[in-house]
């Protein structure tokens, strides 16, 4: 087990370097200049620009910049300075990440709980009316883009009915985050439901299910332990990679509900071509993704004792 984790951690290193380098190259290789953007329409002298570019290390070759950036992160946990404000990127990350993490976690819980419940209900009644309704409902959720759903729910529940706040004024209040979290969770919820439905419907026909029923176990135990535990493996795989995707995808939801999280910061840094801020944010998202996929692999062994890691 320990050796397996160590090997997986080692394998993560090239992937981590590759992904961050890709983002870095995408930001820097493409045209645009964050320093020139600082001045807007105002005239400035080339020497000022040169001095600023030097201060932020933008005059060095891209690969050297990447090397410096990575060295800063690994050695001093230093993500550089935001060019527009001059503040350290860690400070900006510290403000934005908790907000998005809270939103994404709430969405994650909604997605996992409702998704699995719907999926199991549909799977147990495969081919019946409940199954058809759930399948259709989830298809609908998948086919409506997140931002359309966001606008619709915002208009109906917050503006027309007045049940919830249309925009989030206090990102620590879970009541206010509920609506955005539902919107953020919607598409993934549908995938989770469909995935668990297929899995449950397939495993219902398995031999161990027949055995469990034949030896007279109560239905709750057959479904809750034997069936669920075996059916959840593909669902856990999806959920594991989805937490990172939720944080990255929160950009749309945050825009609609006026939440000041990672999404807004990312959108700002993209339009201002702020490489360091952007790469810093994405670096953390990539780390979340990698750690989650490792946890998923380790969870397999918990769910299915036949899987062993030497």
């Amino acid at each position: 087990m320990g050796r397996y984790v160590a090997r997986r951690l080692l394998q993560m290193i090239p992937v981590f370097i590759g992904t961050t380098l890709l983002i870095f190259l995408m930001v820097y290789a493409l045209p645009g200049d964050p320093v020139r953007g600082l001045f807007g329409d105002k005239a400035t002298t080339p020497s000022v620009i040169r001095a600023l570019r030097h201060e932020y290390g933008l005059d060095k070759p891209v690969l050297v910049q990447y090397w410096d950036f990575m060295k800063g992160i690994v050695l001093h946990f230093d993500f550089g300075k935001q060019i527009a404000s001059g503040r350290p990127v860690t400070e900006i990350l510290g403000e934005a990440f908790p907000v998005t993490l809270r939103l994404a976690s709430l969405a994650f819980v909604i997605e996992a709980v409702i998704g699995i419940v719907l999926g199991v209900v549909a799977g147990l009644r495969a081919g019946k009316a409940a199954d058809t309704v759930i399948l259709f409902f989830t298809l609908l959720l998948i086919s409506v883009p997140v931002f359309v759903l966001g606008y619709i729910l915002q208009t109906v529940f917050a503006i027309n009915l007045g049940w919830l706040e249309p925009s989030v004024t206090d990102p620590t209040d879970f009541n206010q985050l509920l609506l955005p979290a539902i919107v953020l969770a919607s598409a993934s919820l549908a995938y989770v439901a469909r995935l668990s439905r297929t899995s449950v419907a397939e495993n219902l026909r398995a031999d161990y299910m027949r055995t469990a029923i034949a030896k007279g176990l109560p239905r709750r135990r057959v479904v809750g332990v034997h069936l669920l535990r075996n059916s959840l493996i593909p669902v856990v795989t999806f959920l594991g990679t989805d937490l990172g995707a939720l944080m990255g995808g929160a950009i749309v939801t945050e825009g609609i509900f006026n939440i000041h999280g990672v999404g807004g910061t990312i959108a700002d840094s993209i339009t201002r071509r702020e490489g360091t801020t952007l790469v810093g944010l994405v670096t953390i998202l990539v780390l979340v993704y990698l750690v989650c996929s490792l946890i998923v692999d380790l969870l397999y062994a918990v769910l299915d004792p036949r899987i062993r890691y030497a």
Binding site: L139, F147, V148, I159
Partner: protein, 315 residues
């Protein structure tokens, strides 16, 4: 429709099944009972497949000849007469049928003309993704060893980039976001899933007897890959591709919402515009959204129908 499911029909063909069989075999003589032949027989009696196929055909016609559906000009602005004018539901298929937007443009005409951009982005991205991901997955799966290790890590790297963010970064540097630019950006980030599916399928096919036989007969690598491996490994890729075609259409709309989508008439732009006036004029956002969702739905349903037909286990 006569019964086609009983296996006895194949041994003692009745007149109708023989005719149906002949229809299939005219297409591909040697493949009457192949995977695809079976799937096709299954699909023809599946109403979900028929509905989604008809919808997609209709959308294709709409994309090719939008003038057939409306005589209004999607770019004609008439602020003086049509600013946020309410829909006139009695005027079927007229310019004012679904109302006007904040620039006095016909919502109906724009919904029709937006089809082309969305379908082109979806189809173009899918084709590129299948080529790119298919080739990478095939090479990784077939050659194995260090080639597989390198290509699989490369896939992991691209998979680690959040899709939306990556697309935003790329598209932000283009002021002229034409259809090929958007396709290239989406495909650059989207090929990973196809590559993984293809790799898995190729690994399964690689060890089959017919591939070994081809090898023993001295067939070249290229011939083995394209004549034997690819045709037998492509089925799951086509399923994934059909479903993700709808997803790419949705992604383009989301990018438009973020201000980084296509230039010109597209559902994404219209939905995004409509969001600004949703409290006074819901119809601006509603109708392009319905078009978009129906399109995405049609492709997902088609993909799932094909998957169910190809994979008897889920039946």
């Amino acid at each position: 429709m006569p019964e086609l499911t009983k296996s006895a029909d194949e041994a003692v063909p009745s007149a109708t099944t023989a005719a149906a069989g002949a229809e299939v075999s005219e297409d591909k003589p040697e493949k009457t009972r192949s995977l695809w032949g079976d799937a096709w027989r299954d699909l023809r009696s599946n109403w979900i497949f028929i509905v989604s196929a008809v919808l997609i055909l209709l959308l294709l016609v709409m994309a090719a000849w939008p003038g057939l559906f409306t005589n209004a000009d999607p770019n004609n602005k008439d602020l003086a007469n049509h600013y946020l004018q309410h829909p006139n539901y009695g005027h079927w298929f007229q310019a004012d049928w679904l109302g006007y937007d904040a620039q006095g443009r016909s919502v109906y005409a724009r919904a029709i003309y937006g089809t082309r951009a969305s379908l082109l982005v979806g189809a173009g991205t899918t084709v590129l993704v299948v080529i790119l991901g298919g080739v990478i997955g095939m090479i990784a799966g077939y050659f194995g060893g260090w080639v597989d290790a390198v290509l699989s890590r490369l896939t992991d790297m691209f998979m680690g980039i959040p899709f939306l963010l990556g697309a935003m970064v790329m598209l932000n540097s283009f002021t002229d976001r034409s259809i090929p630019v958007v396709i290239a950006a989406l495909a650059f980030l989207g090929w990973t899933q196809t590559a993984r599916v293809m790799r898995g399928a190729v690994i399964t096919v690689k060890s089959t007897d017919y591939v070994q036989a081809a090898k023993a007969l001295g067939a070249g690598t290229g011939r083995i890959l394209f004549r034997h491996v690819m045709p037998n490994a492509i089925a799951p890729v086509i399923v994934v591709a059909t479903i993700s075609l709808g997803v790419y259409i949705g992604a383009e709309a989301t990018l438009s919402f973020l201000g980084l989508g296509l230039n010109g008439v597209s559902w994404g732009n219209d939905i995004s515009d409509g969001g600004n006036s949703i409290r006074v004029a819901q119809w601006i956002m509603l109708y392009p959204s319905i078009m978009l969702s129906v399109t995405v739905l049609a492709f997902i349903m088609l993909g799932e129908a094909v998957r169910n037909a190809l994979d008897p286990k889920t039946r």
